[in-house]
Symmetry: C2
Subunit: 190 residues, 2 copies
DNA sequence: AATATTTATTAAACCAGTTTAATAAGAATC
DNA sequence: GATTCTTATTAAACTGGTTTAATAAATATT
């Protein structure tokens, strides 16, 4: 769990004792391609850390998947919206590849935060990080064209395009497969 | 500062001693209509709580204002993006009405969190609340039509339409004034 | 009250996406 | 290697917005 430890310490100073206390609650889990970590209607009880693999986070709107995010190596993830509010999820977490994760239950997270002010701070700061990412996301949705968002994704997460079918990337960008195909054609003609 | 106190306690249990400790750092400030609490290029050093009034939070993209949010009574606000990252702001906070706020500096916030685990928890939970709101925002940008978003806003914050000029609301919805006018016409014809 | 300024609507031409449907290309399975 | 299934592209008609410009309505100023 070295990479989990390192990721936590990239957010906040945590003593060895507190770190050990916290890490004891994490368990390793393995999902096969196609497995669901979560399905719509279920309560989400766990937080995840992606060791290796890829999980898509999506809802289904009027019959078609709307991909919110692709979680890859080093991501902390869950259905944070349902997790925070303790409401049944309206989303899916599906392994797009065989994936290895470390996972901790929400009740254990609470124990960890109660026990350690340092780890509660980690919790606050990782929420802040999530805020920053979501803020950028909103800005990009508002201020960039679809073509620009496609180009940014290509630049920022180039490996995604090898790992994930294009129609899911189209969905992630808020497009239809046809729309993305048009953008790609337009770009290739220059 | 009763309403500030009440709002804090709506997030987390806070003892009278800790609450008193925290509130001592807040100062009352008054802004006149048209005043800037923040301008692009400046560092934002404070967190605000809106007692009475209205402040718009916007960037300028290619010469035109892009309104991110209208902060009204009971809102905690700042340019959270620049605040968290301690980078120069790219945004403006402008009073659309004479406004009374309570404000605390970031360094004092840090003091408060260091001193009180309960208030650090308030900090984490208010970040969570912000996450939930941003998440809904992203979902609405992705999944709703402009018309639907207009109708939701009308339903959720009806008083805004009396307080704020329509072209700013158009901007908030990610539209041009012409676009919003068309939507309103289309709706009125039914 | 008259005038100037700001804000909102309308019209016309345009554009980047959509939907539907057909086709082509690629990957998996027998 | 042929067949089937999945994924990507293309075409055509359509749609909900955009831009620009003119006009109308509301608000502020003298």
């Amino acid at each position: 769990m070295e990479d989990l430890k390192k990721t936590i310490r990239s957010y906040a100073q945590v003593s060895d004792a507190d770190m050990e206390f916290g890490l004891r609650f994490y368990k390793k889990e393995i999902f096969k391609k196609g497995d669901y970590l979560l399905q719509s209607g279920q309560y989400i009880r766990n937080f995840y850390f992606m060791k290796t693999g890829c999980v898509s986070y999506y809802t289904i709107e009027e019959g078609t998947a709307q991909v919110m995010e692709f979680f890859t190596e080093g991501y902390f993830f869950t259905d944070l919206y349902a997790y925070i509010q303790e409401i049944p999820s309206e989303s899916y977490l599906e392994a797009l590849e065989d994936s290895v994760v470390y996972t901790i239950s929400k009740t254990d997270v609470q124990k960890v935060f109660d026990h350690s002010h340092q780890l509660e701070r980690f919790g606050r700061l990782s929420m802040q990080r999530t805020f920053v990412i979501n803020f950028q996301r909103i800005n990009q949705l508002r201020n960039l064209s679809n073509q620009e968002r496609y180009l940014r994704l290509l630049e920022k997460r180039p490996t995604l395009f090898q790992r994930v079918p294009q129609y899911l990337i189209a969905s992630y960008l808020g497009l239809t497969p046809v729309g993305l195909s048009k953008i790609r054609k337009r770009l290739s003609q220059k």
